[in-house]
């Protein structure tokens, strides 16, 4: 084997290296040489190339993401902020909750099942790494047109992958979204959220402290999967006889991860680690350099000790492998025997591969030869930062000036047709075909799950404390106005939380965009971050972490800017949660909030192929008052459901279909009230005896309310339009099975 060592790099400084093939720009390569005072070894080059990639370094987004820190509201709840594997918030009673959302978009397009499965696996390890027991997952998904042939390939595979992995881990899947739009053809979005819980004192950090402490790699053995660009190096450096076209999408083993979770939790319980990091993107390169960089700086690693599935792997490949289900821990020598004993109990392979030193370098040797000798911060935390040019794209002004001309259903027949058409459209149709492939019951603490406004999970069986999670994005509004779009997504997510009866506490985000090298896309991104940071500040919610996914575009066509906003809320007593479905007849239905007439970005406009005008302007003061009203009125709401995609028409349909109890509704101005999409509205059902309480609440919080009807019967009756629930249910439920089998 021709090993490229540090001493070799010193004697042949002009050796030509394939840095461009690895995705590094000329100036980035020169900067590496400057840092090291010599050319990098092939292993070092591999490490820098992955760690300085957009995915790992956030080099295009960093300058904007700083706003989340600069504009951060003061929050007593925040225990661990941005920068760690996941943020942690205090929910009271000594409990800390950690949650985060990440993208696995590109792998899921290439190999839907494994791409989506390992997306779940990765986010779950991030949560575990914080010291928490993972307690639920959620998956916001976006696809090209529902009837497109490639969607029929991608969607079933992704859904099966999420189910196959998450179900086997024993994590309830409690929500998410599925949205279709032609811009996602070729660029499906697979975002995965995980939430975990721990006691305050159990929080773990990714830091390598303490000279002489041991670096332990544990979990699955390292294989050749997920190596990606490094095969360029391998084929450049080594002879061509060995396999180089390894799968660049990782392959998941959920059983290995399940065992790893239980093993880690037992290790945490006995307080046996100083620091811990999972191996995800960039594998061992990332874990060792981040642990060392965040710690005291020095670390020695003996790479030949890494247990391999494939003995032919080169050092570069071992460093880059993204084999799943692996963790790296820093353990004091006095604890190592106990640590290894717990791993043995769970049949988890664990190997000491190095130690923390008092030096300032990360040294990696392979059979005694020094192949990496770098300052770890330059790899992990001091990568390149770009101020990419951005400019408002031309379409913005053009669309803003256009009008949204859609048919307005007025007569009974028109309203009936419109409701049936809307509820059968893929974006609004029943998603049971998908969610029935996910286990929502496991762990026995799921209080609300899809299709409820938010997922609610019980944390403590004695005190009934719980958390609620919701994810939302309205990409069409973000396309029309990314600043407002981000604020609207945050507001909707908060409203969903409050509608279920929980108080919004913290925010995570997954920002999915096209190419940052396109100034128009970069402008969408910059505006999105600005809007989200402003809105979080105004609502007093800290951003605890997030993820950026760029390059979601095919040719010059970028996806709609899709900031998926996740909000975590806390509910003191889960028994008081408010479900969305109408559960009995004789309730009064109220529309809370001001109805509007804006169709831009609405589902109704989308169904008519119209995209234009301006996104609604959000009034966060009104949203905050609405949230307060919902929380204070929680005890009088028999059911409550947010108005979002599909407007009031969809809200009412979903409420009556949940338990097949109908409603009779009369509206003065049916077309806009039913089909326009106006933020800041919720439909609630209350006992008639609670009327005075609701009126008093509306007065207190200065939110308009309108009595629109009563529950009961076997039909949804809107003015003169009479829709039987059987017919409505058929339209609602047959779309997905027809499309996907």
């Amino acid at each position: 084997m021709n090993l490229d060592t540090v001493s070799q790099a010193q004697i042949d400084p002009d050796h030509v290296q394939p840095f461009r093939e690895l995705g590094l720009k000329d100036d980035e390569y020169f900067r590496i040489k400057e840092i090291l005072g010599r050319r990098p070894t092939s292993s070092e080059l591999a490490m820098y190339s992955v760690m300085w990639s957009e995915h790992c370094s956030y080099k295009s987004s960093k300058v904007h993401l700083r706003q989340f820190g600069e504009k951060a509201p003061h929050s007593e709840a925040l225990l661990v902020g941005i920068g760690e594997n996941a943020g942690v918030v205090d929910i009271g009673q000594g409990y800390a909750v950690t949650f985060k959302i990440e993208s696995h978009n590109h792998p899921s397009f290439v190999e839907p099942y494994q791409g989506a499965a390992t997306g779940v696996g990765g986010i779950v390890r991030d949560i575990l790494t914080m010291g928490a027991r993972p307690i639920a997952v959620m998956d916001p998904l976006r696809f090209g047109l529902a009837q497109a042939p490639d969607t029929k390939r991608v969607l079933p595979g992704i859904v099966a992958g999420i189910g196959g992995y998450g179900n086997c881990l024993g994590l309830p899947n409690i929500g998410g979204e599925i949205v279709f739009d032609e811009t996602y053809a070729g660029n499906p979005l697979v975002n995965a959220l995980c939430v975990g819980v721990m006691r305050h004192e159990d929080i773990k950090l990714a830091k390598a402290h303490g000279t002489g402490n041991l670096v332990v790699l544990f979990g699955a053995k390292t294989g050749g999967d997920g190596i990606g660009g490094v095969s360029v190096l391998a084929s450049e450096t080594f002879n061509d006889a060995k396999p180089t076209k390894r799968p660049s999408v990782q392959v998941g083993d959920p059983f290995a991860e399940k065992v790893l979770i239980e093993c880690c939790l037992e290790i945490f319980h006995e307080d046996l680690v100083v620091g811990i990091q999972d191996l995800g993107g960039a594998g061992l390169s990332c874990a060792t350099s981040e642990l060392a960089s965040a710690g005291s700086g020095g670390m020695n690693i003996q790479l030949e000790k890494v247990p391999l599935r494939d003995p032919s792997l080169s050092p570069e490949e071992i460093l880059m492998s993204e084999s799943q289900e692996r963790m790296c821990a820093i353990v004091e020598p006095s604890n190592i025997n106990r640590f290894l004993a717990i791993c043995k109990k769970w049949d988890v392979t664990a190997t000491v591969i190095g130690e923390v030193t008092d030096g300032e370098r990360l040294n990696i040797t392979f059979n005694g030869e020094l192949i990496v000798h770098v300052p770890p911060r330059t790899v992990a935390h001091e990568g390149p930062v770009y101020n990419r040019p951005f400019a408002e794209p031309d379409y913005i002004a053009k669309l803003a000036a256009s009008t949204v001309d859609v048919p307005l259903p007025i007569t009974a027949a028109e309203i009936k047709d419109a409701v049936l058409k809307l509820m059968a459209s893929p974006n609004l149709a029943d998603k049971t075909w998908v969610t029935s492939q996910y286990d929502r019951y496991v762990q026995g603490n799921t209080i609300l799950a899809q299709p409820e406004d938010s997922g609610v999970v019980r944390i403590d069986e004695q005190t009934h404390l719980g958390v609620a999670i919701s994810t939302d994005a309205n990409a069409r509004w973000s396309y029309l106005n990314p600043y407002e779009g981000a604020k609207l997504a945050l507001a909707e997510s908060c409203r969903n939380i409050a509608t279920s009866g929980a108080k919004p506490l913290a925010v995570t985000n997954c920002l999915n965009f096209g190419s940052p090298e396109d100034p128009g896309v970069m402008w969408q991104f910059a505006e999105t971050v600005r809007g989200l940071a402003d809105a979080c500040l105004e609502l007093g919610l800290p951003v605890t972490g997030g993820n950026v996914s760029f390059y979601n575009q095919t040719g010059t066509v970028a996806i709609l800017p899709t900031p998926v906003i996740g909000v975590l809320g806390v509910i003191q007593d889960v028994r008081e949660r408010t479900p969305m479905g109408i559960a009995k007849a004789g309730l009064d239905l109220y529309l809370i909030g001001q109805a509007g007439e804006n169709f831009s970005g609405s589902e109704w406009a989308y169904l008519h192929g119209v995209m234009g005008n301006q996104a609604p302007e959000l009034n966060l003061d009104v949203e905050q008052r609405l949230i307060n009203l919902l929380l204070e009125g929680q005890s009088i709401f028999e059911s409550a459901h947010d108005v979002s995609n599909g407007g009031v028409a969809a809200t009412l349909s979903e409420m009556v279909l949940r338990h097949k109890i109908g409603a009779k509704v009369s509206l003065e101005n049916p077309a806009p009230t039913l089909f326009a999409e106006t933020p800041g509205q919720v439909v609630v059902a209350i006992e008639p005896t609670s009327t005075n309480d609701l009126v008093a609440l509306a007065g207190k919080f200065q939110i308009p309310i309108l009595r629109i009807g009563t529950s009961g019967g076997e039909n949804l009756i809107i003015n003169d339009a009479d829709i039987s629930l059987v017919e409505l249910n058929q339209a609602f439920t047959e779309t997905f099975p027809k499309l996907f089998g």
Binding site: G163, G170, K345, Y441, V442, Q443, G444, N445, R458
Partner: protein, 224 residues
């Protein structure tokens, strides 16, 4: 009254089964797959999950765990055993129950609130139900289609060993819509749906599942 819950590597609903036992008034005792010690429990639940990842046939590896050798011997002497989902699969692999669970007819994992009819209320785990009682219990599995040969089916049907049958739309293609069976003696019961997820209406669709656990507790108290 001590009831054991076995944890295999990959067991998922073990803590949920323990919770259900406690709700029913029993004491849940955790049993480890790698030990043959039944810790003086008076009944055992084999919980749901994916033991050993179920990469071979479901339950095929778990069946050889040291704890199973103790359970098999005890069960043959009338010791009450309930296998839920993966536990049912393990019981079939261990030949404590006949038949096998195969891939769902629709080839998808299926999670839904399932209506069932309890058709035998004389087993140790179902004596608290009324005969032909209709219940709703979550079903969640990928390999829940019960299959057996004609002769076995005849024995099961004629001997009253079909303890629960699916109602409504067929979820998975099981023979005769069988959701659960018992052995001839009635001490060993296998059930595809998850009664431990129907112990209260806060976290489940009903509290119908609790009766499986109160049944065995009553039986054991009566015997003592």
């Amino acid at each position: 009254m001590r009831i054991g819950v076995v944890t295999f590597p990959g067991s998922l609903d073990d803590r949920d089964a323990a919770r259900a036992i406690e709700h029913a008034g029993g004491t849940a005792v955790s049993l480890w797959h790698g030990s043959d010690n039944l810790k003086e429990v008076e009944a055992v639940v084999l919980p749901g999950g994916f033991s050993y990842g179920d990469y071979l046939r479901c339950g095929a590896i778990a069946r050889f765990a040291p704890i199973m050798s103790s359970i098999i011997i005890a069960a043959e002497h009338g010791f009450p055993v309930l296998g839920i989902c993966n536990g049912f699969q393990v019981l079939c692999e261990a030949h404590l129950l006949p038949g096998a669970l195969t891939r769902n007819q629709g080839l998808h994992f299926l999670c839904r609130d399932q209506r069932l009819r309890i058709e035998n209320n004389s087993t140790m785990w179902t004596n608290g139900f009324s005969l032909n009682q209709e219940v709703v219990i979550p079903l969640k599995n990928g390999e829940g289609s019960f299959q057996c040969d004609d002769e076995t089916l005849k024995t099961l049907e004629s001997g009253g060993q079909v303890i629960a049958r699916y109602l409504g739309e067929d979820p998975n293609g099981s023979r005769d819509l069988i959701a659960g069976i018992s052995n001839a003696r009635g001490n060993v019961v296998g059930l595809m749906p998850h009664p431990e997820h129907a112990i209260d209406t806060l976290t489940g669709p009903s509290n119908d599942g609790l009766t499986f656990f109160t049944s065995v507790l009553h039986q054991l108290v009566g015997r003592a």
